[in-house]
Amino acid sequence: MILNNNAFEFLAFLLVKAVPEKLNNIQFSNNPPMILLDHFLQKSALVGNENRLMKASEFKQELAKKNFEYIHTPSFELIKDIRVGEGGISSALVEADFAIGETGTVVLDSSNENKRLATCLAEKLYVIVPLSKLVDSLHDVAGFLEMKTSGMGGYVAFITGSSRTADIERVLTVGVHGPKEMILYILTDL
């Protein structure tokens, strides 16, 4: 019962609060990318992400070619669950709950421990971003954070690029603890 309520609230929240109005009227197929997506792509590229725009059907073909060691993508009902240990894994595929145009960030509910370990310890992190989940600003996910962390536990990650450091002579070096590469599949019809 409680779960259902939560799910309902979440859905209502998605419809009412988190999706900016302008997203409702946009057709992606032929139109040039909208400003919000432009922002997102710019910021995402700035941190060295590989951004790949495609349709869900194209993504499915792509999926067939790849062999991800961990998968958690509810939109495609795909789950490949492992508990990643000290040795890490070569790749993980997850689905973003939101993406933020202002910063080029993906938002991942990571309360699932295996998902968290996988995203922390994969050499390459692949993230599906349904375009409908793209929001304008950091503040657009305030409600989501509130909801996801109001219970006993909660763990939400904003991820913007690979694990990086500039602690030695300020030279930017990736992969200090976590992923060395981040690849986004931005699904324009989802």
């Binding site: 910021k43 700035l46 941190v47 508990r83 240990g85 000290e86 890490g88 202002e102 910063t103 080029g104 960030t105 309360s111 699932n112 421990e113 968290r116 370990l117 922390c120 310890l121 950091l138 503040h139 305030a142 409600g143 954070l145 509130e146 996801k148 962390t149 109001s150 219970g151 006993m152 536990g153 909660g154 763990y155 939400v156 990650a157 904003f158 991820i159 913007t160 690029g161 690979s162 694990s163 990086r164 450091t165 500039a166 602690d167 030695i168 002579e169 300020r170 030279v171 070096t173 992969g175 200090v176 603890h177 976590g178 992923p179």
Partner: protein, 715 residues
């Protein structure tokens, strides 16, 4: 170690010098890019206001946070002192039979010297932030809040790693060194029984903490071990996610010039944990007081508790850039470090380092929480100056000379008449200087000193009949000591120009000091005397259109410090307040009155913006000059960065002053200009002195003299 010894040691450190310099240059560019399209003033006001609260409010926030996490079985501990916090954390480790604890970066744990405590207890904290780990192995402390190992070269790091790991490390290959850290630290996460993080924000509405990192070490630290300890100062509490995100929006931009860090992690309470016996993480929150709560009730120092630990006050501090965080700060670094050292560790620990602030106010204007850091430092300088005394010679000079206008006048008159054996004409620019100052310590010999003017400004004003010009339009002019005794021609040039434009200029009955030298040296008593002297001889007629200054530091004093020092004297306070609204830089007055000029000759000209022009009087003549001069104007890189003068600072910390000046001169030379214009006699003294010392043929002119010689008024 004595502070000057420490300073000199750091000034000799070429690695530190290069690293900090390169960072300072790169930081400014990336910060500007990160904030592009955003209203920095509006953002920082937001953060300032959300952090503006009293003890009562913070305790309410704390109680709600506690309720939200305790309800789910988390433990909350209120540590009164640093030792309490250390003991609690050690106990958690012992209770879990855990010898090892992985830590992500936490300045709060530096504050309480947690690692030292744990090591003494036979426990092993392991820093997982790369910079912190390097320093932990090297047995050092951070020298910057967000780039702890900024003082190290790759070669030094390679040596540290090779000693630690026993492996060969290529001293040039940073990527390989990062790989070593990845390999060694990966093991530690899985070995540790406890993980400890700090918190950049603690969100009250849910009991969630937010962590801002680039490396992802906080994610692993809070995920892999079965126990999570959060060490957090009460000041990190905020009401809700809206507020938390307001902070997250500015923090990385100000810290490193990143739009956002790679990871911003939001963690609440007890998450699944396969390593835990019951499958759920054990979570502890250690809320640290350690003296901070008391200051929430202090009218001024409560401001310091608004700090979000971005470290940007160090990033743009000219003095920090010279010596680094091992000297400029203590456990916390930069301007906020000077302040928090005084507040948390006591004034004894802070009394020397506070003096290193040159007072340029860059930090106050750069702080993303809107803390007026420089004025807090100034306030603390007065506190420690009063308690521990200041340089006895200075004290005597302030008390017996500067605070007594008549004595000062007579003494400097004698000086002007008897300095001739020491003076000579500097060949390069025909200016009268002191050829060789007797017994001048070597470190102070980095610039030529101007000779005292043979006649003071006031004397010439009357003698040359400038008091005989009457008009309906009037301004009042406060010359200040530099124009009065060293550079009367700057003042007279202005008076002539104004009179030509039909404006009468009145001056004070007596030459007095604005008090800034005493304030900057930490001498409140004499500062007050000087301020009252000045206030009493400034005319305050309603028909003065402006109170003009040629020294923006004096102008800033009238606007700001005069109010502080006359608080208990309503009549003077009122006068100070009225005068403050009329203070204007000369250039601003010209611009507001739309006096138009055209340039004579074809000189190449650049401009240095004095600190207190831009940051006390909200003015810079740069646009004015650029529009009058057109192609003849060459912008100066870092025009509004301090020249290193700071009044007596340039004698007290001559080597820092010299280092800052050298950078200014490098930038001036890069313009290829033959004239440098500025509008502060202090900056003229410093920059001109430095250029003469180095025999560089760039003419330095105050704006008034420049206008007199190189511009003409268009009717």
């Amino acid at each position: 170690m004595e502070i000057h010894t420490k300073i000199n040691e750091k000034l000799q450190d070429k690695v530190l010098h290069e690293n900090l310099r390169n960072f300072a240059i790169a930081y400014k560019v990336s910060k500007q890019n990160a904030y592009q399209g955003l209203d920095f003033e509006a953002l920082r006001t937001k953060v300032h206001d959300l952090k503006d609260r009293d003890l009562n409010k913070v305790m309410q926030q704390f109680n709600q946070f506690r309720e939200n996490v305790e309800r789910h079985g988390c433990k909350v501990y209120q540590a009164k002192t640093g030792e309490d916090a250390c003991r609690y954390i050690a106990d958690v480790m012992k209770n879990h039979n855990s010898k090892f604890m992985v830590k992500s970066k936490s300045m709060t744990s530096e504050e309480i010297r947690l690692n030292d405590y744990l090591e003494k207890e036979g426990l092993h904290p392991i820093e997982t932030d790369l910079g912190e780990w390097i320093l932990q192995i090297a047995k050092e402390h951070p020298s910057h809040m967000v780039m702890p190992a900024i003082h190290k070269t790759r070669q030094q790091v390679a040596k540290i790693f090779s000693d630690y790991t026993g492996e060969d490390v290529d001293p040039e290959d940073i990527k390989a060194m990062v790989e070593i850290a990845r390999r060694f630290l990966r093991e530690e996460y899985f070995k540790a029984g406890v993980g400890m993080t700090g918190a950049n924000v603690a969100v009250v509405s849910t009991g969630t903490i937010g962590l801002v990192t680039n490396e992802g070490n906080a994610r692993l630290t809070s995920t892999v071990p079965p126990v999570h300890i959060v060490l957090v100062g009460y000041e990190k509490l905020c009401d809700n996610f809206e507020q938390a995100l307001d902070i997250v929006r500015v923090l990385p931009k100000s810290a490193t010039g990143q739009i956002i860090t790679s990871y911003t992690t939001w963690i609440k309470g007890r998450n699944p944990s396969f390593k835990s016996e019951d499958g759920v993480k054990e979570t502890h929150y250690v809320f640290l007081d350690n003296g901070r709560l008391a200051f929430l009730e202090h009218p001024k120092f409560k401001e310091a508790l608004k700090c979000i630990r971005c470290g940007s006050c160090a990033n743009i501090c000219p003095a920090y850039e010279m010596v680094g965080g091992h000297v400029y700060g203590d456990r916390y670094i930069g301007s906020i470090g000077l302040i928090l050292t005084a507040l948390y560790q006591g004034d004894e620990a802070a009394k020397d380092i506070l003096k290193m602030c040159i007072g340029c106010r860059a930090c106050s204007f750069n702080c993303p929480s809107g803390i007026d850091l420089q004025s807090l430092i100034s306030e603390l300088k007065l506190v420690v100056g009063k308690k521990y005394g200041i340089n006895p010679i200075k004290k005597k000079v302030f008390k017996n000379v500067v605070a007594k206008p008549n004595t000062m006048k007579s003494l400097l008159h004698i000086g002007a008449n008897f300095q001739f054996p020491l003076t000579k004409i500097n060949k390069l620019n025909n200016e009268k200087i002191i050829g060789k100052v007797p017994m001048l310590p070597k470190e102070m010999d980095f610039r030529k000193f101007p000779a005292l003017a043979s006649k003071t400004f006031t004397k010439r004003f009357y003698k040359e009949g400038y008091d005989q010009f009457f008009a309906s339009r009037k301004v009042f002019f406060y010359p200040g000591c530099a124009v009065e005794y060293f550079y009367p021609e700057m003042g007279l040039a202005m008076v002539e120009l104004l009179q030509k434009s039909g404006v009468q200029v009145d001056i004070p009955s007596k030459a007095t000091c604005c008090g800034i030298p005493a304030i900057a040296s930490g001498d409140p008593e004499n500062a007050k005397k000087m301020i009252f002297n000045t206030l009493d001889c400034l005319n305050n007629k309603e028909d003065y259109e402006a109170l003009l200054v040629l020294c923006p530091t004096c102008g800033g004093a009238i606007k700001h410090e005069f109010l502080d020092f006359s608080k208990e004297d309503p009549t003077r306070y009122k006068k100070a307040s009225q005068l403050g609204t009329k203070v204007s830089a000369f250039g601003k007055f010209l611009e507001e009155n739309k006096i138009k000029f055209r340039v004579k000759g074809n000189q190449k000209i650049t401009y240095h913006t004095p600190c207190h022009d831009s940051r006390s009087l909200a003015y810079s003549a740069e646009n004015f000059l650029a529009s009058v001069l057109g192609k003849q104007f060459v912008p100066l890189i870092d025009s509004n960065v301090c020249c290193g003068f700071g009044g007596t600072y340039s004698l007290d910390f001559a080597s820092i002053s010299n280092g800052i000046l050298d950078k200014k001169i490098e930038n001036i030379e890069a313009t290829n200009a033959n004239i440098l214009v500025t509008d502060c006699p202090g900056c003229v003294m410093q920059i001109n002195g430095g250029l003469m010392h180095k025999n560089i043929a760039v003419k330095v002119l105050h704006l008034t003299e420049f206008i007199e010689n190189y511009l003409e008024v268009i009717d």
